[in-house]
Amino acid sequence: MSIDVIIFLGLAAVAIASAVSMLISRNAIYSAIFLVMNFITVAVLYLLLNAAFIALVQVTVYAGAIMVLFLFVIMLLGAEHVETSRKLPWQLPVALIFGLILVGEFGLMLYTRMDVLAESVQSVVEGFGSPASVGSELFRTYLIPFEITSVLLLVAMVGAIVLSRNERKESR
């Protein structure tokens, strides 16, 4: 077993454990912290794949910016503890069925595409995933999707501001 495989197995164990802990912990603060841990572990997995740029963006954007906002809102609203009384009776069977379908699909894909996956993926171009190459790809090949995404995000932001404004006026 090469050292990469050992590191991968350790990271995978941590990633899965933190994801499961996030789901089952009763305290929303703990859930948020486990999710941060999961994001950071996934970032290290990216590092293992020689994608340093994606790894650091993952930490900055997901683990840093987004989860801090989540934690901030949870703390501000005092919504640490989940109410256990409000349970949906149909949720568990439906979730189970969907989960099984997903696992089945995943297994089928793995089984039918085995030959493709077994091919080596080491033939990555020199400098692939570096900040410069990601930037030039984004701004040359994928310029229009990139711009549309930014407009979408802007619309969402403006929408949130407009909605909260109206509420404030009514309360006066």
């Binding site: 603060i29 912290i33 941060v36 950071i40 340093a52 740029f53 650091l56 963006v57 930490v59 900055t60 683990a63 840093g64 910016a65 801090v68 906002l69 934690l71 901030f72 703390m75 501000l76 570096s130 900040p131 410069a132």
Partner: protein, 335 residues
């Protein structure tokens, strides 16, 4: 990966961490002495010659203090929070080049652990965005309303000023045409410091950095008069010392990063002939930036919270955006 490289990295890591711990101890003394002079006092001068043993005395005192964990605190997170706070402060300097490349005992040596990675600036951003968690968690886990308010204020402040900080990074990146701190420093060789081309960028960086480390005049998270001590109100003994150390080590780290980005890093006269002078210049310039921070604390009063937010979002951020656009135009036309 060969043995000499591993030894080099291990030694450099130890030097950086020990340097930061010692730097923290003596930065407290430096700050107290300088502030005392500014306020026409003398400052601590009893322990050892010129008060040089004062940090040791403080450390011993803190070790023997009683460790109190509040009854209603979340114990696991309460203990974990100082650790989460201090680690980013200790690891962020890994990408800062400490000196020029040199040959020692027949081996080529790079001073600095990973100065030449091509995402160095992003690494700093990633680590500083993680640094918020320790403070936030400390505020929440204390189960004290003042601590919680301090933690929330710190979170809001740090995510607001991180934007301006990130935009201030872009000036040097554009000028050096690289995100590696190694290239940024080398582009400033021969007194072509980026502060001459980026005075606005440097000021924005310094202000945002002071806000990021929660120091006066942006120390709303620990405003003594209203929040007792903010997020570390419930901490005592060595846990308090760790919180304190994180704050001062962050100060040292942002000063060193400011020197690297804007003040020519380790370059100075005769560094080409004597490479070991590099770290000396780096430390001296860092002390100058640290002095400015101490000076600000001794001179300026604390902001009001809404003004702090308005300053960050309505003044600093647009100025930083303007600076980025101006620099980009400058590079496109002149460079």
């Amino acid at each position: 990966m060969d043995i000499p490289h591993l030894v080099e990295w291990a030694v450099e890591s130890i030097v950086i961490i020990v340097g930061l711990i010692g730097g923290f101890a003596y930065l407290t003394l430096f700050e107290r002495r300088v502030q005392a002079r500014i306020q026409v006092r003398i400052g601590p001068n009893r322990a050892g010659p010129w008060g040089l043993l004062q940090p040791v005395a403080d450390g011993i005192k803190l070790i023997f203090k009683e460790e109190v964990i509040p009854d209603r605190a979340d114990k696991a997170l309460f203990i974990l929070a100082p650790v989460i706070t201090v680690i980013p402060a200790l690891i962020v300097l890994a990408v800062v080049p400490l000196g020029p490349d040199m040959v020692l005992f027949g081996y080529p040596i790079t001073l600095g652990i990973a100065g030449d990675i091509n995402v160095g600036v992003l690494y700093i951003m990633a680590v500083s965005s993680i640094a918020v968690y320790g403070i936030t968690i400390a505020g929440w886990a204390s189960s004290n309303k003042y601590a919680l308010l301090g933690g929330i204020r710190a979170t809001a402040q740090m995510i607001s000023y991180e934007l301006a900080l990130a935009l201030a990074f872009i000036g040097p990146i554009l000028l050096a045409n690289s995100m590696s701190l190694h290239d940024i420093v080398n582009a400033q060789q021969g007194f072509r410091w980026y502060i001459w081309l980026q005075p606005l960028g440097f000021i924005i960086f310094l202000l945002a950095a002071v806000a990021e480390v929660n120091r006066d005049p942006f120390d709303m998270p620990e405003a003594e008069q209203e929040l007792t001590a903010g997020y570390h109100a419930e901490y005592s003994g060595m846990k308090f010392a760790l919180m304190f150390m994180a704050e001062y080590d962050k100060m040292i780290a942002v000063s060193m990063i400011a020197v690297t980005l804007f003040l020519g890093g380790y370059w100075g006269p005769f560094v080409n002939q004597f490479p070991l002078l590099g770290p000396v210049y780096l430390v001296l310039k860092t002390v100058v930036v640290l002095f400015i921070m101490v000076w600000m604390r001794a001179t300026l009063v604390r902001f009001r919270y809404d003004r702090l937010m308005a300053f960050g979002w309505k003044i600093l951020l647009p100025l930083a955006l303007l600076n980025v656009m101006g620099t980009a135009a400058f590079v496109l036309v002149g460079g």
